[in-house]
């Protein structure tokens, strides 16, 4: 997060439960989204991300629990909230033959904004050259840019982005990430869902891991990695005969395995990598390869749920 940690909660969810017939989509879901942060709800498809987000947006009525957005109830006070929220829905569509500029001008008029505000957004999102293109002719990335423009048209305080980059190629995905960071830079709060761990790790200040409709933990990606997967691994190649003894003697090291001249050194200390480098330097051990393997959110997810996010 840029600078100090935000404290004011703009979204508060507690004890949320939503069922569809006999299917419990989400249960006992509680979290807060702070002012000015990018908050991610992460989990596999069917985990309850979209249901949770749509309850917060006021699109679905929860069976139980309390939701507050800017202190307002998203169902009862939806008309007051709509002007303060920007929404991008998963798998959204527009009229096939609506032109980009027409969509933006329509949305502007629905919020009582000027068409020029929409034109400015098209410029900021790099869509000016597509303004006369029909929606059906846009690429996946261009459609998502347009949906971001529509979500921002009313200059909202909080923006909801549901699976924004699903189905996009890596280049388009990275470009969209930049746009999302830009939204935060304008002082807005972003609440997103994703099943892409890399996206969450690179974009989110804090994430909530959700699986089978329940929140497992909420924190920054770094804090979650340190909490659940503190292991650090260093892999190096050396033909120095004294190396193995020296590595095993380091207090931070939990295990060393040797395979020919290739050593895999494991430990739970954050200082493991520094310690290994210092040992190599002080003992003048010559290495021909050196790599670190650090755990990520994907590892955290497997650790806390017992399965991969793709299962």
């Amino acid at each position: 997060m840029n600078g100090t940690k935000p404290a004011r909660a703009v979204i508060e969810v507690s004890g949320l439960r939503k069922t569809y017939g006999s299917l419990v989509a989400v249960d006992e879901v509680s979290f807060e989204v702070h002012d000015g942060e990018i908050f991610g709800l992460i989990g596999p498809n069917g985990a309850g991300k979209t249901t949770t987000m749509e309850c917060v947006e006021g699109l679905r009525t929860p069976d139980r629990g309390k939701i507050s957005v800017f202190g307002l109830d998203p169902i009862r006070d939806i008309h007051k909230l709509q002007n303060r929220m920007g929404v991008q829905l998963q798998e959204a569509q527009l009229q096939k033959r609506i032109k980009v500029w027409e969509a933006v001008h329509l949305w502007a008029s629905l919020y009582g904004m000027k068409s020029s505000d929409g034109e400015r957004l098209l410029e900021q999102l790099g869509m000016v050259d597509k303004r006369n293109t029909w929606f059906m002719k846009l690429s996946g990335g261009q459609k998502q840019r347009l949906f971001i423009a529509l979500a921002l048209i009313n200059d909202p305080e909080v923006v909801f982005l549901d699976e924004l980059t699903t189905g996009l190629d890596p280049q388009a995905r990275r470009a969209i990430w930049e746009l999302v960071r830009g939204i935060r830079a304008r002082g807005k709060t972003v609440f997103l869902t994703t099943h892409l761990m890399e996206e969450a790790e690179r974009l989110c200040d804090r994430v909530a891991i959700i699986d089978h409709g329940r929140i497992i933990d909420v924190d920054s990606p770094e804090a979650l990695v340190n909490r659940y997967c503190p292991e650090r691994t260093v892999v190096l190649m050396t033909d120095d005969p004294s190396a193995e003894v020296l590595f095993r003697a380091m207090p931070q090291v939990a295990a060393v395995s040797a395979n020919g001249g290739r050593f895999t050194i494991r430990g739970k200390s954050e200082d493991l990598v520094t310690t290994v480098i210092r040992c190599l330097s002080e003992n003048r051990i010559r290495v021909s390869d050196f790599r670190t393997i650090l755990p990520n959110l994907e590892d955290v997810f497997i650790k806390v749920t017992g399965h991969s996010i793709r299962d």
């Binding site: 947006e57 699109l59 008309h79 709509q82 002007n83 929220m85 929404v87 829905l89 798998e91 959204a92 569509q93 527009l94 009229q95 096939k96 033959r97 609506i98 027409e102 001008h105 329509l106 949305w107 008029s109 629905l110 919020y111 009582g112 029909w134 529509l150």
Partner: protein, 249 residues
């Protein structure tokens, strides 16, 4: 009603960019009337000539007008069901747009298209048949718009909940086409049994046909105050009902 004008303008343009939709709604009814007009010119003199002439000069134009109205309804229901199925309505539901604004925009677009279609149909129809009847075109156009608004409002109710395009066409057809059959257009209401006549009088199409028939034949508005009242009642009830039951997804 923020955005009503913009929504109407865009919906009209988007509709006209869909070549098949525009053809089916605007061009096809004109062709039907022109075709009937041509057939009418081949009616030969004889015992059946009077009845045939009445059919071609009164019933056919009213029938084509009803077809134009029903086309508008089918188109409205199809568009709304496609919007619902593909998530366009859901996307709009997150904006300050209200169901009443969407329905108003669509009905005004359809009424505009109905007017255009009717004007085109009358322009291209066989002149001799139409002028012979001494038809008050402007009054008939107004009557057609009143009838279409009432028939469209029944379409609203279907459009408010029909889940997908697959259901739109059959539901609309099943509801509307039988209404034409017993509306008095082909068989006079007076020839029905009392029970069946009462049933026909419950249906809005009967009043639409009666109004159009009368105005086409040059009767006064006052003679059809009951028809107009019934059609307004249908419009008011259906509009109120559809905004209540409207589903975004």
């Amino acid at each position: 009603m923020h955005g009503l004008g913009r929504l109407m303008w865009i919906e009209l343009k988007v509709f006209l960019r869909e070549p098949l939709g525009a053809f089916g709604t605007v061009v096809a009814p004109v062709l039907v009337l022109v075709l009937f007009g041509r057939i009418g010119t081949y009616v030969v003199a004889g015992g059946a000539q009077k009845a045939a002439t009445a059919f071609f000069t009164v019933d056919v134009p009213v029938f084509v007008t009803i077809l134009i109205s029903i086309n508008a309804v089918v188109s409205l229901v199809s568009i709304m069901s496609i919007y619902r199925e593909s998530g366009i309505l859901k996307r709009l539901s997150t904006t300050p747009l209200r169901p009443s604004t969407i329905l108003t925009a669509h009905v005004l677009v359809k009424l505009f298209l109905t007017s255009m279609t009717l004007i085109l149909a009358l322009l291209f129809a066989n002149r001799s048949l139409l002028t012979a009847a001494g038809v008050p075109f402007l009054r008939f156009l107004l009557a057609a718009l009143i009838a279409t608004a009432a028939i469209l409002s029944m379409g609203f109710v279907i459009a408010s909940f029909v889940p997908s395009g697959r259901f739109a066409q059959p539901i609309t057809s099943v509801l509307l086409y039988p209404m034409i059959a017993i509306s008095g257009l082909f068989v006079p209401l007076s020839s029905y049994s009392p029970g069946f006549r009462s049933f026909a009088r419950v249906l809005p199409m009967t009043y639409a046909v009666s109004l159009l028939h009368g105005i086409w034949k040059g009767e006064a508005w006052a003679a059809h105050a009951g028809d107009i009242g019934a059609l307004f009642l249908v419009f008011a009830i259906c509009t109120a009902l559809s905004t209540k039951i409207f589903r975004w997804e």
